[in-house]
């Protein structure tokens, strides 16, 4: 696995932990402050992190393909 692939895997694991933790938190936090946190903060993570994982995976695939064809 390439460095990018490893980084992507680490980020994916961290993101899974965060979403699990958030789900556990959200199950017990029902007020509008939670909604504000989701709107102002969590949604930005939801936009940025999966996109980064996806693009890192694509980059890792590209590098692997290049290695196969060049080396």
């Amino acid at each position: 696995m390439t460095g990018v692939g490893q980084a992507s895997s680490q980020l994916r694991n961290a993101w899974a932990r965060l979403t699990d933790q958030w789900q556990a938190t959200a199950d017990r936090w029902h007020d509008l402050v939670r909604q504000r946190f989701e709107r102002d903060f969590l949604q930005e993570y939801e936009r940025a992190v999966p996109l980064a994982i996806r693009e890192m995976d694509q980059l890792a695939d590209l590098l692997a393909q290049a290695r196969r064809e060049v080396l």
């Binding site: 017990r28 402050v33 903060f41 290049a66």
Partner: protein
């Protein structure tokens, strides 16, 4: 390649004439084979170089495109996370203040509101009105007017809890027309805004 060419030329120049004047051409087939093999190898290297250059360009382009995502991720991981942490710390402090204030009004009532069971909290109001009005008197009408009339646009308010130094942290505003209540949290003493915890919660008892 150059060495193979030199070897072939040297071989080809190694012919000689014998005592009868006949020229003896050397056998340079091995040198010729090695030169041809070097040419083939050179072509392969040039092909691979072109392939590598094409990949390099493609990867550089992909890396450049990823740069924007990386910058955004970096911002999320640093400053955005710091802001989120600060927000959560403030919220945690606010909730802690509410819990601390529970002793003033009644632990069960406030704790229920903190955990998001505001509806249950307000339904319990009917049996806690004595305490609620007592606390309301300590907060004063000026604050009640500011919160309920100017900021929230409602009327008939009851302040259920207050934090340290007479700083209110939790307010329930009851609209007598609708029979519903809104519950608000002020995160700390310096905050100007009240954060809505729950809205339009049915009031279960007489205010």
């Amino acid at each position: 390649m150059a060495r193979a060419e030199t070897d072939l030329r040297r071989c080809q120049a190694s012919g000689y004439r014998d005592q009868y004047g006949y020229y003896h051409q050397p056998d340079c087939s091995r040198q010729a084979y090695l030169l041809e093999r070097a040419r083939v190898y050179l072509r392969e290297c040039e092909d691979r170089l072109r392939t590598a250059q094409a990949w390099r360009s493609r990867i550089e382009q992909a890396a450049h495109q990823f740069q924007r995502t990386e910058n955004r991720l970096n911002d999320v991981a640093t400053s955005h996370t710091e802001r989120a942490r600060t927000f959560l710390e403030r919220v945690g402090a606010g909730y802690a203040a509410v819990q601390a204030a529970a002793g003033i009004v009644g632990g069960a009532l406030i704790a229920a509101a903190v955990l998001g069971l505001a509806g249950a909290a307000v339904k319990a109001l009917g049996t806690a009105t004595g305490r609620a009005y007592r606390v309301r008197g300590r907060l004063g009408e000026e604050l009640a007017q500011a919160v309920a009339l100017h900021e929230l646009g409602l009327h008939e308010q009851q302040i259920l809890a207050q934090g340290t130094a007479d700083t209110p942290v939790l307010a329930t505003v009851i609209n007598d027309d609708t029979g519903q209540a809104d519950i608000y949290l002020r995160l700390d003493a310096d905050a100007e805004q009240w954060t809505p915890l729950d809205r339009d919660v049915p009031v279960g008892g007489e205010p």
